[in-house]
Symmetry: none
Subunit: 220 residues, 4 copies
DNA sequence: CATGAATGAGGTTTCATTCAT
DNA sequence: GATGAATGAAACCTCATTCAT
């Protein structure tokens, strides 16, 4: 009657707005229904409850994103480590851009998932992503350590770097609404992250001793 | 009688526990009062409400932390940029360590402030810190750009880097309860961040063109 | 297609299960429909509502049971009172057994009707049955009083005894799922009830005075 | 403010009325509060919820009643079985009367507990009482069987008799609001129950064979 | 200082029922 | 015959807050 073919869609839309605006916890089902022009009962016809509402909004993009992320980590493993050319830099950047494009294709939902899901079953999504990275990077550093004689990085640092990477995407999503700009920034972010990683590996994670590095550098 | 002069202190203690356990939003004043062995009325004698309770818990350390952070940013400004020696690296690390020590000296409260304050007036504290950094670094890069001919970094990147730095502390606080270990890690974190920064500045934030950088590098 | 002519039957079956499991009040039409593999609308095509659903399930057996009970009470009236032989005992027992057989022939529905109908129009069925008994027994005791000089029993006691009789069947149905065993028990139950009745009549409902009853008896 | 010293009492009173009128399940907390002239929050200040409200109403009388019942069963055990005189009859009757007095001293609450508690944690109270009886009577019949050569009664019958006894009280409470009358009736009820019990024991629970019992008896 | 009572608005959820298709 | 969407009222409950004492 009211709005033709929509209701469920209207509810999802309204929920998305409310979740984004107030965050999962403070979001009110009453308000969601009111803004959708529908009664509470209707919501419960289509969804099991608040959690389910978020789930339907987020589950599919989440699956896509997870797959994308794991796949790229896996590819990195295959490319292996060791001597790295500009070629590989490009590959890293392209991988990152693919993730960015995915995030912006599902802009609202990803923002919601990554920044407004506190209190829901998804509140640890970012950490979970970081954990995926940790798995891979742990293997990578171990191998690097064996192959090149550099000491393996501490587990904490590996976890932190993974977390930084994921957070880079989250930060982008929050602060830069424009995809094209985001794609531009991500290139430099990757440069930063790669430089940081290399910096760490060169020193074996230890602060450099004067003899190693006498040349001048700029600093932050 | 049993606690004598305690009441307010007991409330603060109980509130800290509850906030840390459930987060600001899900924390219940009832529970806080019950665990403090006191009634709701008492709470409202000492505090204006939920927000005020958090405020009294957090305000002082927050001021200290803010001062510390701004001061260090300011010092960096004074040291200026340009040619950087190992000496300056050490200064950066020491500054970071001072922050770490402060954070762990007020472990609970800082954890609360930085990770459990969603829904309160402090929910954007981390962003605010990042903004302080942004201010400073923006000036820094501008100067660097003028002095050295490198193009100035985009504002977004500057903000992101500030954010990464703050987040490094937050991550540490969450995942490493032991100060000594934390102090060890922060050194390497600084190395990483400095390397990243340098990497970015060298390329002017643009992805390197093949001729510039032919030598082999390790990569993540 | 899968069930063809079934739908209504499936609904009745599903409703029976749900009512038995949760009781009339707590039973959910949603659940009933879901378990019947049918939508709410379908239910309302065949039935007027929750009450009607129970009615269709229960009405016919209820009529049968009512008829059976009234008939037996009537027969007792015809047999009259007064001197009673073993023969009459047998008749009582056979009557009771017939009721038991009926109850177990419609086991589920009778259980439902007699023990799970709270909140429906049938919640007083047991009382109503007891009332039938009361009618008859009132006449019976009145006659006995006139004929034998014993004082008539108080109306309350008559009602209570009727109620006990009905309840004996209900108790059986609840606690003994096997007809054969039930038929065995009912014999003894009748013995008990007849003994009780005789005991009451002998004393005129008054507690016996010592002279009347000096012999030793076992007691509960 | 509204009504001086009462609120909790008013809530309990209002709840009692509502529970008695509609039964536990259909009773509405809203209505209870409205009739008490109080808001929902007030109810939850004094009680944990619907269940707790009933509990506070019922728990104490329940304890008293349980104690009374168990004590009387225990006394019966001590008096033992075997030859029983009128004396013991009187004891039985007095015990029953004590129970009746207790029930009527807490008339409303007992009625509520015994007949309107479906859906609450007390819905099986009557069965639980019957179980107490069963325990005792099982021992009693076993002893009687050993001592007097009569076959022990089937467990089912014992349970049923216990249940009948309890139900006798419940029936009284429902149908006879006047204590004095109730006390009068209970005497006859005991006579009935004792007669029934004796009748059963004499025949060993089997239907009598003609030779055993030729004398005339009245019958129901 | 502190209590304990009370408010009132809001939360999520469930239900029997209706009706256009 | 049957579907699936939608209603609307009511359910229980929790919360931060207030205030007379």
């Amino acid at each position: 009657m009211a709005g033709d073919k929509a209701t469920k869609e209207k509810l999802l839309e309204s929920a998305k707005r409310e979740f984004l605006e107030k965050g999962y916890m403070k979001a009110s089902l009453r308000t969601i229904c009111k803004n959708a022009g529908v009664t509470t009962g209707a919501l419960y016809f289509f969804f099991q409850g608040k959690g389910d509402l978020l789930r339907e909004l987020v589950e599919e993009p989440l699956k896509g994103l997870t797959a994308l992320i794991r796949q790229h980590f896996a590819e990195e493993m295959e490319r292996g480590i060791g001597v790295v050319s500009l070629e590989t830099d490009r590959q890293d950047i392209d991988a990152a851009k693919e993730v960015v494009r995915f995030l912006y294709r599902h802009y609202d939902v990803c923002l919601l998932l990554l920044t407004k899901s506190q209190g829901s079953e998804y509140e640890n999504v970012v950490s979970r992503f970081a954990d995926y990275g940790e798995e891979h990077y742990r293997m990578l550093t171990a191998e690097a350590a064996r192959g090149c004689g550099v000491p393996a990085l501490d587990g904490y640092l590996v976890h932190w770097m993974s977390y930084m990477q994921i957070n880079a995407f989250v930060h982008l999503l929050i602060h830069e609404p424009d995809v094209e700009k985001a794609l531009g920034y991500i290139e430099q972010v990757v440069v930063y992250l790669v430089s940081g990683w290399n910096g760490l590996l060169q020193t074996g994670g230890a602060v450099q001793d004067p003899a190693d590095d006498r040349e001048k550098r700029r600093k932050p």
